[in-house]
């Protein structure tokens, strides 16, 4: 390749908000109900029904806007986007085009070249559509309106990203902010966070953007990265062959690692947007804005600062723990139950991370409770179990969130603190291992390790190693 190309990427990120009810009616947003059970005349587009805006949606959108340094549009409006499709019961989607709730923001990401700001063009509120299920056997399509009317925000970035790494860094940052705000759980695999990638390439140094394509159906960070690489290569190949990139929407097939065209600009629909006459303008008073500002929870940067001051743990650990809102919550809750911060941090940093990796899980997927971790730490503090047993018990907590006190009791894992029994076991071990005893006495102090191990074996692991050590030293003198 003779020419050098630069990739230009902008993202449209849809995030499902964590409200209990839908954006324009009182139906539940809960995931996974039987088809068409979370529905009413409003979210099924029955004649005569009217939308009423859920205030919580506005507050979440404002919170995300504030956390991403946007200007809040204090007079904003909903518009209808008109298009025919059966997943959309009214045949128009209520969205925001002319006056979106947030504008002109941006977030900072870390890149190998240093910090970089990715601009946010706008954030708007809208309703989700229903779900179509194509039944190949019956040769028909069925529609489930449970998801119809679930609130979304769409976060539209500026075309400020130049690589897959930057895209992932931006998405991770965005996800973390939204999770910290409690506005969404942002699970890509469950569709509560969806990203469409707008990508073009141009020769390095060119001032104009190239023709872009929009890629949909990206369900994981890995798929996004692969799709970006694939699309970049496809566009460069076209240009190298002297062909043109066509402005179109493409669907990424992650199994085939290839995208194919869905629709081109020529058959792009005219959505005939106009202000929805069924809804009144959303007017955000200074008072309301200040209220939301005041309620803004602590975000990662502030949390890091606080941890540095409050807890004596390494900065690296702080980065990892605050890198997941869920993990930080567990950390703080366990401490509030009386556990030592350093010990909590240790459990999270070592054993938890090891098990997450082993099970290919994300910190967000952690299921265990702070209560059980706190109990475990207390058991070790009281020396009721030793560290080997503790690790074994923790794995049970990690997998099934068992109560460690009951578990230790039931399995008889408690350390034996009966000094008499321990002493006689040690006497036995000394008698059975004259060679090691001799080694020790002749100055090979390391030989004591073998004797401790033998004793522990005899005690079936339920002894306090420091106590064994103490008695051994005493008896060997």
């Amino acid at each position: 390749m003779s020419k050098q190309y630069e990739t230009v990427i902008g993202l449209e990120v849809h995030v499902e908000l964590a409200t209990k009810t839908k954006i324009f009616c009182g139906c539940s947003t809960e995931f996974g109900g039987a088809p068409n059970t979370h529905t009413c005349p409003v979210c099924t587009g029955m004649p005569g029904s009217l939308p009423v805006l859920n205030k919580q949606v506005v507050e979440y959108a404002m919170a995300v806007g504030l956390a991403t340094n946007c200007t809040i549009t204090q007079f904003n409006k909903f518009d209808r986007k008109n298009y025919f499709y059966p997943d959309n019961p009214q045949n128009y989607q209520i969205s925001q085009l002319y006056l979106p709730i947030c504008r002109d923001g941006g977030i900072e990401i870390d890149t190998p070249a240093g910090k970089k700001t990715i601009g946010i063009h706008e954030i708007h509120m809208e309703e989700d559509a229903g779900k179509l299920i194509h039944d190949e056997w019956e040769d028909c399509s069925l529609v489930d309106y449970n998801r119809s009317g679930v609130p979304l925000i769409e976060i539209v970035s500026e075309p400020d990203m130049r690589s897959a790494d930057e895209v992932i860094a931006y998405l991770e940052k965005l996800r973390l902010i939204i999770q910290y705000l409690g506005a969404s759980d942002c699970k890509l695999n469950e569709g509560s966070m969806r990203a469409d990638v707008n990508l073009s390439v141009r020769e390095v140094g060119a001032s104009e953007f190239g023709t872009r394509t929009e890629m949909k159906n990206l369900n994981s960070f890995k798929a996004i990265a692969r799709a970006i690489e694939g699309e970049r290569a496809r566009q460069i190949e076209l240009l190298e062959e002297g062909k043109q990139v066509i402005q179109e929407t493409r669907r990424w097939d992650d199994n085939k690692e290839y995208s194919y065209a869905m629709r081109s600009k020529e058959d792009a629909q005219d959505y005939r947007y106009f202000p929805d006459p069924d809804l009144v303008p959303v007017i955000i008073s200074d008072e309301w804005l200040n209220e939301v500002k005041a309620k803004q929870p602590e975000l990662q940067a502030e949390k890091k600062e606080r941890y540095k001051k409050e807890f004596d743990i390494p900065e690296y650990d702080i980065d990892i723990i605050t890198g997941s809102k869920h993990m930080a919550d567990i950390f703080e809750e366990t401490i509030s139950l009386g556990a030592n911060p350093k010990k909590v941090s240790n459990w999270l940093m070592v054993e938890t991370m090891r098990l997450l990796k082993e099970h290919e899980m994300e910190p967000e997927d952690i299921k265990f409770s702070a209560t059980n971790l706190a109990k475990l730490i207390q058991l070790t503090d009281e020396k009721a179990i030793n560290s080997t047993v503790a690790k074994e018990v923790f794995e049970q907590i990690f997998n099934e969130d068992i109560d460690p006190v009951a578990y230790v009791e039931e399995k008889g894992l408690k350390t034996v603190n009966d000094e008499g029994a321990l002493r006689s076991t040690i006497e036995q071990v000394i008698a059975n291992n004259p060679q090691s005893v001799e080694d020790y006495k002749s100055g090979k102090k390391k030989a004591i390790g073998f004797l401790v191990g033998q004793t522990m074996k005899e005690m079936k692991g339920k002894a306090d190693p420091s106590m064994i050590n103490q008695i051994l030293v005493e008896l060997l003198q």
Binding site: P41, T44, G45, M46, P47, G48, S49, L50, P51, V52, L53, R80, N82, F84, P86, P89, Q90, N91, Y92, V143, D270, R272, Y273, F274, P277, D278, L279, V280
Partner: protein, 484 residues
């Protein structure tokens, strides 16, 4: 005693006094329908069984002292664009020919709480688009004063049913004059309230920013009483307004002394029938004689109301009616090849010509490249028209004028020339654009014996002023029945 010639309030009093049972009243309405419906075709659906059953329930509630209001037990007809639970609601369209809603419109629920007995659903122009009730899929309604004439529209079925005494009163809806104009043509009284006064929840939308439900009845007392019953603040309708003054019957006072009444000179233009003009000016004179201060003034922008209206209402309609697609409810074409063909055939077969015309007009004015030139310009015009009215209401309590330029035209005359039909809405449309309350009160008949309506327009939330003016005027006349 002919129960159907009584006003709703008179009948309600007799029911309350146990002189008449609810069942007798209901049967009287059903008998009237039986006798005259074949002539006038006021109804799309008559729910005989439901009405009789409901009559007994209401009687029980009256006997138990739970229903004491003035409308308890009185039979009512509902325009067929308001949802009635489990009862066919067609909007007079083929596309909703099999549609039974799962819920009732808020205005209907309010009436039921007041003890109304719903007799059936009245005919209308398809989706309320038209001024004659001739665009209905279920055949035209005829004017009870002259069967060769249209009843007006789009609430033609409701107005004709009241005039023909096939119900005691009715609900209509008004987007550009759809209550007032047919009230005028049928010689009955109707009110289009201030936008936001009656909940639109369950009213199948035509032009959402203009639609309002209102009463149609024999006299002003009935209208005020019905409006009091159907008005409410409804959280389900974001455009609903919380008001403190739903006691509209308190304005039933025969006194216009010192009331300032303005007559727009720009309403008296070419195309206004001379007999209509004379009757309206005569009515103004009557009010003057009763002590009102009557003045002429120039309103301004009158000629811009019609184009602005047809742009805005059609734009909203094109989107509102897109949900009728054969997927979820209503008519679906018999055979089709794929989704888009199904949409196309269903909608081509399901909608009538006037509805298609407005969907196309609305889609055009919203399409990219035309939105600013048409839709936004129309919205700006709407705002300017409101300003003209604001100026007028600084000087006047009530604006007085004709409802329509003519009396009821002959069947078939209007549809051949839609532009002419649209121009007939010139006096009513601006009221919707400005969100104002307006009312039609009979003020005489022309030489052909056809009724003429007087329009009284109030400032926003000033229904009481127009009710008081209308009531005072009404005291100088007797209600004229079309039936012999």
């Amino acid at each position: 005693m002919n129960l159907m010639s009584l006003t709703a309030v008179e009948l309600g009093k007799k029911i309350k006094a146990k002189e008449v049972t609810v069942l007798e009243a209901t049967k009287a309405a059903l008998a009237a329908i039986e006798e005259r419906e074949s002539k006038y075709n006021c109804y799309v659906t008559v729910d005989k069984e439901g009405a009789l059953k409901r009559a007994e329930e209401v009687q029980k509630l009256i006997d138990q002292g739970e229903l004491t209001g003035p409308l308890a037990g009185v039979p009512v007809a509902i325009k067929d664009n308001m949802c009635t639970k489990d009862m066919l609601t067609t909007c007079s369209s083929k596309i909703l020919s099999n549609f039974k809603p799962t819920y009732s419109a808020e205005a209907v629920v309010n009436l039921e709480k007041a003890g109304a007995v719903i007799i059936g659903k009245t005919n209308m122009d398809e989706f309320a688009m038209g001024s004659t009730t001739e665009t209905s899929y279920y055949g035209e309604t005829k004017n009870p004063w002259n069967e060769e004439r249209v009843p007006g529209g789009s609430s033609g079925g409701s107005c004709a049913a009241v005039a023909a005494e096939e119900c005691s009163y009715a609900l209509g809806s008004d987007t550009g004059g759809s209550i007032r104009q047919p009230s005028s043509f049928c010689g009955v009284t109707g009110i289009k309230p201030t936008y936001g006064t009656v909940s639109r929840y369950g009213l199948i939308a035509y032009g959402s920013s203009l639609d309002q439900i209102g009463p149609v009845a024999k006299d002003v007392t009935d209208c005020a009483t019905i409006l009091e019953a159907i008005s409410s603040y409804d959280k389900k309708d974001s455009t609903s307004v919380k008001r403190e003054d739903y006691d509209f019957t308190s304005a039933l006072v025969d006194d216009v002394k010192g009331m300032r009444i303005g007559i727009p000179t720009d309403y008296f233009i070419d195309g206004l029938d001379s007999e209509v003009k004379e009757a309206v000016l005569q009515a103004a004179n009557t009010l003057k004689e009763k002590g009102a201060i009557v003045e002429e003034f120039e309103l301004g922008l009158v000629e811009y109301a019609i184009p602005a209206y047809y742009v805005i209402a059609s734009a909203e309609a094109s989107s509102n009616l897109s949900r009728f697609d054969g997927v979820k409810y209503g008519y679906r074409t018999e055979s089709f090849d794929g989704l888009h063909n199904m949409y196309k055939k269903t909608r081509s077969e399901g909608f009538g010509a006037e509805v298609k015309r407005r969907i196309m007009l609305g889609s055009f004015v919203l399409s990219s490249g035309y939105y600013d030139a048409y839709y936004l310009k129309a919205l700006r015009t709407k705002a300017l028209i409101k300003k003209e009215f604001d100026k007028a209401f600084e000087k006047y309590d009530v604006i007085l004028g004709p409802v329509a330029p003519t009396t009821a035209p002959k069947l078939g005359d209007s549809l051949s020339d839609p532009i002419k039909m649209y121009l007939g809405d010139i006096y009513t449309i601006a009221v919707n654009l400005a969100g104002l309350p307006g009312m039609s009160v009979p003020c005489g008949t022309d030489s052909k014996g056809l009724p003429i309506g007087l329009q009284l327009i109030g400032d926003c939330f000033q229904e009481k002023k127009i009710i008081q003016a209308a009531y005072s005027f009404e005291q100088t006349r007797t209600y004229k029945r079309p039936l012999n």
